[in-house]
């Protein structure tokens, strides 16, 4: 007998397991909660939105309001992005070796590897 076991990584969860887009009847039966959302906050000084955490909400608008209440209470941000977690696809940790290790011995990819002419400033 063989058992196939599919392991899902964070964020890369199919719709029917993600908690979203589920009819109220099914929601009651399965005890599923509201869909999960990932929150990205841009701080006052920052140029980019950084991942702040996740939360539950029924739609995007509620997710932004919840993010405001949960993640910007101490003036952390001036802009909020939210995205349903199921739309984020993550790389597989088991493939980390083949994905990242090959860059280990390629120092020449750093600009510091090259000799620069003296005339060139501010590199």
């Amino acid at each position: 007998m063989s058992i196939t076991c599919r392991k899902y990584y964070y964020g890369d969860i199919p719709d029917n397991n993600a908690g979203g887009n589920i009819s109220p009847e099914k929601n009651k039966l399965s005890g599923n909660d509201w869909p999960l959302w990932e929150v990205f906050i841009r701080s006052k000084q920052g140029l980019d939105h950084k991942h702040a955490g996740s939360l539950h909400a029924t739609n995007a608008q509620m997710a932004i309001e919840n993010a405001r209440d949960v993640y910007t209470r101490r003036m952390e941000g001036v802009s909020i992005w939210v995205v349903e977690s199921k739309h984020i696809h993550a790389s597989n940790p088991e493939e980390a070796g083949s994905l990242y290790d090959p860059a280990n011995d390629k120092v020449y990819r750093y600009p510091a590897f090259y000799d620069l002419p003296d005339e060139l400033k501010h590199m």
Binding site: M62, E65, N66, R73
Partner: protein, 254 residues
């Protein structure tokens, strides 16, 4: 002159009590919210309101003098001395009632603080300006929840209808001025609340329409008395819990 001064004190206490009592009611949800995110949201709103109350109490204490502080005003006055509207003290019951109470109250505060910004009393005007930003968010949050519940499931819709039945009778008092409010208007520091009734009604009507909820008829009997210290049976219980520590251990600090 003394009566005029007392009126100003009563007016400031009325605004402080409104914010403190509904803030305290909301704080009762802390740790009991329907989901974590809304637990935090309602607790944030409670803190905003208690913060507004503190600003008003500090100003009232300054007007009263005699070593009065914001704490003695909040913790050592009796039920009859509290001047909050009856709406603020109504129990949480369920999420629908809590949401509707906040929606009615935030709509009122939103239009009220807009006018209070132009008070000739610089303290009141400054507090109003600061509070208005908070209240604008409370109104957005509570109106969206009111619409979501009204236009939601059969259960949430029925709960909103029940909430309207429970709370509508306390909305009339918001726009009926008592003596110290009339004096406030004459002296230029108070808001003529009869002027914000139409704005309030329009906002509520629009939200109810979107929420597929019916507005109660015009001739509903309206309760009153809170502003003059005649409260429903609930305020005493709130004060018993809220004031217990300062009454049992006077001056306790931590």
């Amino acid at each position: 002159m003394l009566a005029v001064h007392q009126s100003r004190i009563n007016y400031v206490l009325h605004l402080a009590d409104n914010a403190l009592i509904i803030g305290h009611r909301n704080s009762e949800w802390c740790g009991h919210g329907p989901v974590l995110e809304q637990d935090i949201a309602i607790t944030n709103i409670a803190l905003d309101l208690i913060g507004q109350a503190r600003n008003f109490y500090q100003y009232a204490a300054e007007l009263i003098g005699n070593n009065t502080t914001e704490d003695t005003l909040a913790y050592l006055r009796d039920e009859r001395e509290f001047k909050n509207c009856l709406l603020a003290e109504q129990p949480n019951s369920d999420w629908a009632i809590t949401i509707l109470r906040q929606f009615f109250f935030s709509t009122y505060q939103y239009f009220f603080y807009q006018k209070l910004q132009y008070s000739n009393d610089v303290q009141l005007s400054a507090i109003a300006e600061k509070a208005l930003k908070e209240v604008t968010y409370h109104l957005r949050w509570s109106s969206e929840w009111a619409i979501r519940l009204g236009d939601g499931t059969e259960d949430s819709h029925q709960r909103m209808i029940k909430a309207i039945d429970n709370l509508w009778m306390f909305t009339g008092e918001l726009f009926l001025a008592v003596n110290y409010e009339k004096i406030g208007v004459n002296e230029g520091y108070g808001v003529d609340i009869s002027l914000i009734k139409n704005d309030w009604m329009k906002k509520v009507t629009d939200a109810f329409e979107e929420a597929t909820l019916a507005l109660p008829p015009d001739d509903v009997w309206m309760q009153r008395g809170g502003k003059e210290g005649i409260h429903s049976e609930y305020l005493g219980h709130i004060l018993a819990e809220m004031q217990y520590l300062q009454r049992a251990y006077p001056g306790a600090q931590w």
